[in-house]
Symmetry: D2
Subunit: 345 residues, 4 copies
């Protein structure tokens, strides 16, 4: 293949590390510091999270998104519990069964319009509570930005949180792209998490310009009492923690997270507009953030893939996903549109 993925729309985790983040890593590289997070870089990064979410949170850093989601759930539910989520949820589809292995619980995938689930969807699964033959619903997990590129409004989250609270469930948010959601909604990170009843947040870093690192934010610190042991046993305690912490400090300083996300979202809008010029290219969902789900006509999709690597989710329908990142440029977008123009001639 002569694919050059160097400027493609495959995923925001194909992107590079933001220069300010990389600079912070380099700055942190001097002398010895105590390992496993007992260092000043980690204290400062924690303070950045407290500035965003409140002083009484507990925050822990892990290596990747699979761990952030799985260990969030591990801290909320036991093996005989079930987690309600969209059938399109990353945690349900794309983790090779990590929650089932790590927690031993069942995931109940609810058919989801636009990647989002509603309180009504969830409520219909609660009648089994108390019946020992069924895995017991104990958490709801939602993804913000959703896997299909849509956002939950703050009020939609609050309704889910109320349902959860009223039924003794927890509300988890997979925020691998929470920055894109907050940037899209024009609100603070807190406004769509803690303030509307989320219990635990997987806070994404890698897709928004970090080298490696995700955070788990507990809005009720009591839920995190055993977490330092859980993190260690589940193989997610970094010895040279300072290098993860320094990245988060950079990302949370002067809202770099929002700048990166706004740019990625803007590039997705530009790309969506470009695609809509073509009569036979259809968007599948609203483009709220940096993800576009699109149907390409069958006569160009293969040729397009020879130029640009991207995920084709429904080969028979030409359904594909395009993602923009903090380092996507207007030229990248134009190049993609130009290529379609050439192919269609």
């Amino acid at each position: 293949m002569n694919i050059s993925p160097s400027r493609a729309f495959t995923s925001d985790n194909n992107a590079s590390v933001h220069p300010a983040v990389m600079a912070a890593i380099n700055v942190a590289n001097h002398d010895h510091v105590i390992a496993y997070g007992h260092d000043s870089f980690t204290r400062q990064a924690e303070d950045c999270f407290k500035a965003e979410f409140g002083d009484d949170i507990a925050v822990f850093f892990v290596f990747n998104g699979t761990a952030a989601n799985t260990l969030s759930l591990r801290s909320l539910v036991q093996s005989h519990h079930a987690v309600l989520c969209a059938n399109t949820a990353h945690v349900n589809n794309n983790e090779c069964g990590a929650p089932e292995k790590m927690v031993g619980c069942k995931l109940i995938g609810i058919p989801a319009v636009n990647g989002k689930i509603s309180a009504e969807d969830c409520e219909s699964h609660l009648s089994i509570i108390g019946n020992e033959h069924f895995a017991q619903p104990k958490a709801i997990s939602i993804t913000q930005l959703s896997e299909l590129g849509t956002t939950y409004q703050a009020e939609e989250i609050r309704v889910l949180a109320d349902l959860a609270r009223n039924n003794n469930l927890y509300l988890h948010m997979d925020g691998a792209r929470i920055a894109n959601a907050a940037a899209s909604l024009g609100c603070s990170l807190r406004a769509i998490t803690r303030d509307v009843g989320v219990d635990v947040l997987s806070f994404g870093g890698t897709k928004n310009g970090l080298l490696c690192g995700e955070a788990i934010v507990f809005f009720n610190a009591q839920l995190s009492e055993a977490f330092k042991f859980i993190r260690k046993q589940h193989m997610q305690l970094a010895s040279k923690m300072r290098f993860i912490s320094a990245q988060f400090e950079a990302l949370l300083t002067d809202e770099l997270w929002r700048k990166n996300a706004l740019h990625a979202n803007k590039m997705a809008q530009l790309l969506a507009e470009g695609l809509l010029q073509f009569d036979d290219i259809k968007l599948q969902h609203r483009v709220d953030g940096n993800i576009i789900h699109v149907h390409f006509p069958s006569d160009i999709i293969q040729a397009l893939q020879e130029k640009f690597y991207f995920y084709v989710r429904q080969p028979e329908l030409g359904g594909a996903r395009l993602v923009c990142a903090f380092d996507t440029t207007p030229e990248d977008v134009q190049n993609f549109i130009d290529t379609i123009n050439v192919l269609k001639k």
Copy 2:
């Protein structure tokens, strides 16, 4: 506390990142590359490992040592199996039960002189093979450099490998400090692993100058057939893999691993010599690599800890561990010795 850990002997994972490794990270930071290891940096790092260990190996990168050891065992044994190891083994003592959780197996800790186990030690545990009431021995795990700072000679490893092979067991090596062992023995990495019958090696990076990254090397690639799924499910698949791979390429180029290890070992020798000047300070074990186990007299240990942070393993006996790293300096050593001199006056 007025402890300055910046130049202490706590652990080699308190150290910084080697400049050449950090440079490689910076160099890798341009453009997009396909995530999850489907990139040229990863191919090159794999080639470096093949140059050390042979073209027919399989190698996988994970985030940390807990994962390297635990997932090595996960690939070798099932839940009804047992792993024989030294009672002092990191995998047995210091992973918060990660192997028990991840594999579901039992670890059988064998009392170990100098941190090493022998074939005779292991053999006495094999009579239960076939009896369904006992977890079935299926792997032997040894640590090189051992947790007590001693090395296995190549021939000692071969005898263990023969016992394993003859009884249908596998031999795993926790090589968190294999570089220090090979440097100490003056041999190649291969001479104390593949060439003497090790099946799977946890190859340590972080303790020898990496920012974050360990490798699992399968000398029989068939043992790794399911490993890409195991790694993903067990939350150890890095999306921006290039930044781990680039570090390993740097570490394996021009034997940087050996240079780093030789330096750390040399500093440990210097420190040991300094300590032996004092009549009432006793070394507990041979100092083959970069780890020193020592007994401090009770009248100075507390004062010493107020100046330097280090692990006290046997408080009642004054038993402590001191570790040197690639960035330990002769001045650091002298400073420690000088401090003891001052305290003893």
Copy 3:
């Protein structure tokens, strides 16, 4: 409540123990025999299974159906695998997440017409094979008699088995009511299992007249090599095994299994005919065996439940399940129909 469940249609596991089975238990109760299955009763029961299924099978006894299904899957798949099954499958819905906990795998519930899945249904889930982000399909599990009371024809099973074999998957059958299916189809047990490509069978005993006991039958004995250890570790090894084995010998002698099943099926037919006399009572599915799924009009269902305990699966629709057992009598059926007649007046 004044419910007398003593002659109800709740489930075949509310039934008693068949007299011939109870007699066998009593006969086995003399002297000492070696525990854990190393006894002559167990050898004889195994021989009965070999007479049904072939001399080269391997068969193991466990305590209950949850274990028979879960440990069958445990012997076929690893944690990073997925099992394809009907969304109505007992193993998916009614085991409180036992497979997820015990195996760590994901169950993929396929929407199922009449409780049955087809090869086409399964095939659409195979495109993810090889992609490490997805739990890997490795087994298909079907239920015979299905949870909705329908049977798979032998040829339908063969098509599923062919798909499985061609894609390196295994075919498991949950045969909690396999006797009812074989009785309904008028065939041998072997004709709808081994002869059409099933790899492992959960053979139901408790629902067909045993006190306690299920069997796992491996048609390829190699698949069972580790099973004696798996059974012990998973808490399913009976010490006084003779009392389970003796039951199976009774059940398999002179096809008692078929007699019991034929009777239960016949009572279900009688009950179905009685129900169909009422214009506003509708059967939801074919009644192939001893299970009836029915819609009761909303004005009688509650009153009916005050007389007879049975499962209401869709309260809003009046959807209920009725099950007949080996000890259901024509009088029991008539009593139920008479009660409806009274309620409708």
Copy 4:
């Protein structure tokens, strides 16, 4: 081999079912009752337990001892915890790693004199509490009657319970042979469990005359809140529960448990006295209950095993275990002694 195990000393689980227990099973076999323990037999058996241990306990029945112990621990600790027990404990040695698989925790086997551990033994393992690198001690598990045949005095248990309580640990008792212990000590079941601080008891039935059945008794019912789900998910919920419950009612009526245990203990005393007639046969431990650990001279042990099947634990030393049961007779004992006499001539 011409071994007749019909009247041997292999284990109390080689014994038969006590006639009164078998009679109760037969009596329970009429009509339908609601499955899974929602029946009057189960209520009555629960009441029997409450009469022994107090009205505010919670009691659950499971199939076997592996489950009783493993699920007791499962209800007390999480995966990142450790359980302190004797290195000779059944739960540590003889369950094929069931606790490690089911709970994911680590067992710390403490060298035990006479099969018993002391508070001092346990206390030395508590210094790691709070350190995330170590599995966290959260329960102590003791066996009463111990595996070596010795009993804990009530006061010894209380000291362990106090240590546990003071350090936020739980105390579990493996009571597979608690009846033999209580009979030996001449006390109530409660006097050596609840009254001295045990939190959860595995109450043995099978070894004392049941067909199949063990109970888990929670003295603090709050600890059992999730247990009905845990039992189901861990494959230990019997559908025809009445047949387990009826056995326990029989065992607890008129202290049948004590009668059976007293007889077995008495036979063990008789056997021990017979063995002590021989100068070269040595008892290894006190014979407090129905278990004898003995050293046979090497010249007779093999010949003896050709006549009687029993466990040889230390082949090189002639170390063997002999167990008496409720149905062991004085003639069985005399026959064994006579055989030794013949062999020694």
